[in-house]
Symmetry: C2
Subunit: 252 residues, 2 copies
């Protein structure tokens, strides 16, 4: 039962950071994991998994890849799983270690910077969007939910496994932007309408917290603010929707 | 305890449809409700509400508006509430009765049609986006989650209270499009890139189910399919994000 204990432990961010491991839950997320090259440490499955052809196929794929699959009871599984209806399957895999220098090597065009974005569903959706719109990497600043939280992983639908993600700080980003000539823009309702601006070759877009927007301490690091014009009867767009529109308009 | 029984009953779609009432849960959603003109039938509050200045202010606003606020225990409240952490407050209000003819009277430019979109969080976010991007109305086809489901209402953050929403069918929409010269386009990965098309004066955009896209039975009613180009490594965008990008690009 080493894998069960490990999965339970990995519910804590500190454990994920110390062990460089994360948990991917549900049929879709584990299927996506198998499509990519991350190292898989093992999986937990309940009898529920084998009640569907899709579950049986997934089990066979895991075993064909040489992944150890431990059968556990529903109660044990529930004690480890973090997402809603994890469908009787979770896998433990290695978090890829990426640095800002890796980002530079990827032919950097667009970066997305998350400044204390906190809802796991929003952050997962944002990662899925960033991968779909060919953003080079997504960078989490302090205060952002852990990108390897099981709920984030699940709602990103596999984006983590091929899209570059990492955590960083303004100190590191400031050095990086100078070295690699990256413009840093922020999304803010008080900014210039995004349609009126011309995006530079290399651009990092910073998006802020759901309720509070960009952190006051981030503003000094941002060269230009851009906005999406919206109806006055509505306070704001959802952060994942706004990020999607910005990334689409600013893509290259 | 008539209001408690009523709130419990309104968890069912059939009850909401028969009584033309819905439930709005949580501080933000009830605050937004008070900003608009919908008729409020009453509210339930727990002692938790009065533990914050914001909760106390909301209670005062409800009472100033002459709304009956019934104090209930946490257990009774939980038996009626449908969303996560409803913060000790829910209000029951009247569903506005809108028809397609009301839509025509609003100076119709853009319509959004939901074709079996099922996740309440997605649909709420979509309504919030449609209101923000000045869509004239959002129309739910059969198979779509009830727009007045408490989870949809909560994640729409007040959009329901000023954005026109209604349920309809292809039969009604087909007559309406002829009468009012509305083009009907659908969002589909196999469509033309949306950047390459010019949007007509009056346009209804149809977006489909999270997993399956547009219903096969809808395709015959749609004149043109449009797509957002995305990276081949990603299956699709989240439906709320994709809808946001389309509505922004096609706005007028």
């Amino acid at each position: 039962l080493r894998l069960l204990t490990l999965a339970r432990d990995l519910r804590r961010r500190k454990a994920r950071e110390r062990q460089h491991l994360f948990v991917s839950e549900g049929l879709r997320a584990v299927e996506e994991l198998l499509r990519d090259s991350l190292s898989i440490e093992g999986a937990l499955a309940t009898p529920q998994l084998e009640t569907s052809p899709r579950g049986i196929a997934l089990l066979q794929s895991l075993e064909a890849r040489g992944v150890q699959v431990v059968r556990v009871s529903d109660a044990d599984f529930a004690s480890a799983a973090e997402t809603e209806s994890p469908q009787g399957i979770l896998a433990i895999a290695r978090i890829p270690a990426h640095t800002l220098e890796d980002v530079a090597k990827q032919g950097l065009r667009r970066l997305l910077v998350l400044d204390a974005v906190q809802d796991p569903g929003n952050v997962g959706t944002i990662l899925r969007t960033a991968a779909a719109l060919s953003v080079t990497a997504t960078i989490a600043l302090p205060g952002t939910v852990d990108l390897w939280n099981a709920k984030v992983v699940r709602s990103a639908m596999g984006a983590h496994f091929h899209h570059l993600t990492l955590s960083s700080t303004w100190d590191e980003l400031d050095s990086f932007r100078v070295l690699h000539h990256v413009a840093i823009w922020g999304a803010d309702a008080a900014g210039e309408p995004v349609d009126a601006v011309r995006a530079p070759e290399r651009l990092a877009l910073v998006v802020g917290n759901e309720g509070n927007g960009l952190a006051p301490s981030s503003r000094g690091h941002i060269e230009r603010l851009v906005a999406l014009p919206i109806a006055s009867s509505v306070d704001s767009l959802n952060v994942a929707v706004a990020t999607g529109i910005f990334l689409y308009l600013l893509r290259r």
